[in-house]
């Protein structure tokens, strides 16, 4: 039997090492989870390929792939930052994982930082895969990469805020159901695959103020039309991020 030196030698690891360790664990958990991969990788890629090579949607004469690629990028951001994060965090809360982490030297700020970094890392993988597939299908992106980055960062903040708001207040099962429902509804009405111009005039202002519409519309304006930073879309995302993160910080329950 191995002898262990149990003599007290307490001490926290440096913050960057703790955050790096937790980030690695979060990324691994996301990439190993089959349901998560379905939402974050498989569905977006299938939609991208399926709807750009078949004439199911009417894109008013433009290029199908140029229309689809920005929408699918927005879907990818939503699936990781909102759906995946809400479900995973909800169950971590339910299984006492968040509580137990509260008894380690990793602070709550450190934990949130790790979760954010993990979401960003998975988004980088998603964007790489989706752009690769889209380019292979003849996508011609335009516009400023900086504007795209700004949209993705604000979109991630808004969806993370909404996902954590749900995960920190609802029961894990309710979060699972609601997060999947919201994913489906926003997939249909968020301008990802079906242009908002196909919806009745009366509901369009509501749909346009959704974070997913702002993100997909903003990305499309930049990437397909080469527009400058879409200020209205950025403002909508910033507002959602501010409100949801504020509410999350007030209501999040760790147990």
């Amino acid at each position: 039997m191995t002898t262990l030196d149990l003599t007290p030698a307490p001490g926290a690891a440096p913050l960057h090492r703790m955050v790096a360790a937790q980030t690695g664990a979060e990324i691994q958990a996301m990439l190993r989870n089959g349901e998560q991969l379905l939402l974050t990788m498989i569905i977006p890629v299938l939609l991208l390929v399926g709807l750009s090579v078949t004439p199911i949607i009417d894109v008013d004469g433009g290029s199908r792939i140029d229309f689809m690629a920005p929408g699918v990028l927005a879907l990818a951001v939503m699936s990781t930052a909102f759906t995946g994060q809400a479900i995973a965090t909800g169950f971590e809360r339910r299984y006492g994982v968040l509580k137990r982490l509260g008894a380690t030297p990793l602070s709550r700020t450190g934990l949130m930082l790790a979760k954010t970094l993990a979401v960003i890392a998975v988004e980088v993988i998603q964007v790489t895969v989706i752009c690769g597939v889209a380019l292979a299908l003849g996508w011609h992106p335009a516009g400023s990469p900086l504007a795209v980055l700004l949209l993705v960062v604000l979109g991630t903040a808004a969806f993370s805020g909404l996902g954590l708001l749900m995960a920190g207040t609802l029961r894990a099962e309710a979060t699972l159901a609601a997060a999947n429902l919201v994913y489906l509804v926003l997939l249909a009405c968020g301008g990802i695959a079906f242009p908002l111009t196909r919806f009745p005039e009366s509901v369009r202002p509501v749909l346009e103020s959704l974070p997913i519409s702002a993100l997909s519309g903003g990305l499309r304006a930049v990437l397909s039309e080469g527009a400058g930073p879409p200020l209205a879309a950025l403002a909508v995302l910033a507002a959602w991020a501010a409100v949801s993160l504020f509410l999350t910080s007030r209501t999040f329950r760790w147990e």
Binding site: M1, T2, L4, D5, L6, T7, P8, A9, P10, G11, A12, A13, R17, M18, A21, Q22, A25, Q28, A29, R32, N33, E92, Y95, G96, V97, K99, R100, G102, A103, T104, P105, L106, S107, E255
Partner: protein, 302 residues
């Protein structure tokens, strides 16, 4: 002077209208094993969770290693084993323990700790596939991986088989020998009696008794026997030396306390012969901790 590992004075905790902890006061010494005993709902877990910084007290004062339990620097100095959960179900237990190790400056070697707790062959098994006893051991490993000064173990041996229980006891003894303070809760009287330096019995959120195991059970010996229920003990008492007591608890179990000398045994057996009482399991022994516990907290189920 160095502060105690845990210092609790007049602690009060309420959940809604019910008072879970009602003026609890005790200390846990440094370098010692302190066992907190009590029936279900006595307030054991609440007390521990206040010490661990998970819950806030509604009254009274709690100091852990001389500090307020909410102080962040305690997270590195204190190891925690929750009563249940805490590990992501899909995570392999070796991987989880390595993650816990990376939060600390001078952790134990996770592989050596797994080996010590008999978990090496399960290192690659997801937590949810482990048996209850294996999950408990993973959780225990997580409490000590950071080489803490103080560990809180909430029912560390619940659901363990005898081998795993002994492995856990060995680890607690080694922790104590290395100078680590241990505060644990348990339902097992033998565990508290064998393992701890100090026992605190709590009931309805208050301390009902505390002391070393031997001070609680007392040096006094008892004569016990089993016989048919409802014997009239008055005559026997008259024949026993002054200061003796005799009682039936529970039915059919008789306990004679007093100066347990050879003469007493003779008196009891003579009386039994005269009354035509046949006895079973006649023995002279010390009171067990379980006797003390049931006397203090009652026999009714809760």
């Amino acid at each position: 002077m160095e502060s105690p590992a845990v210092e609790i004075v007049d602690l009060v905790k309420r959940y809604g209208g019910t008072t879970a902890i009602d003026g609890l006061t005790f200390n846990a010494a440094r370098g010692a094993v302190t066992a907190v005993l009590g029936p279900n709902g006595a307030g054991k877990t609440s007390t521990l969770e206040i010490c661990e910084g998970f819950r806030r007290a509604d009254g009274g004062e709690v100091k852990v290693l001389g500090l307020d339990p909410s102080r962040p620097e305690l997270r590195a100095r204190v190891g925690v084993m929750l009563q249940a959960g805490g590990v992501p179900p899909a995570t392999r237990c070796g991987q989880w323990l390595r993650l816990m190790a990376r939060f600390h400056a001078h952790p134990l070697d996770p592989a050596a700790l797994l080996d010590r707790l008999g978990l090496t062959e399960h290192a690659r098994t997801p937590y949810r596939r482990l048996s209850g006893g294996q999950q408990q051991r993973v959780s225990l490993a997580g409490a000590v991986i950071g080489r803490p000064e103080l560990v809180f173990l909430d029912e560390p041996t619940a659901g363990l088989d005898p081998q795993a229980r002994h492995a856990c006891w060995e680890l607690v003894r080694d922790l104590r020998a290395s100078g680590v303070s241990v505060v644990l809760t348990t339902h097992h009287m033998d565990e508290a009696e064998k393992l701890s330096d100090q026992i605190v019995i709590i009931d309805r959120g208050r301390v009902v008794a505390e002391g070393t195991p031997s001070s609680l059970t007392g040096a006094e010996r008892q004569l016990r026997f089993r016989a048919r229920p409802g014997l009239c003990l008055d005559e026997l008492l008259a024949a026993l030396p002054a200061g003796s007591s005799a009682k039936e608890s529970p039915a059919g179990h008789y306990i004679i306390e007093g100066q347990v000398a050879p003469g007493l045994l003779a008196t009891v057996t003579t009386w039994c012969a005269a009354e035509g009482v046949s006895t079973d399991d006649l023995s002279i022994e010390r009171r067990t901790l379980e006797d003390v516990f049931l006397e203090l907290t009652g026999r009714e189920l809760r």
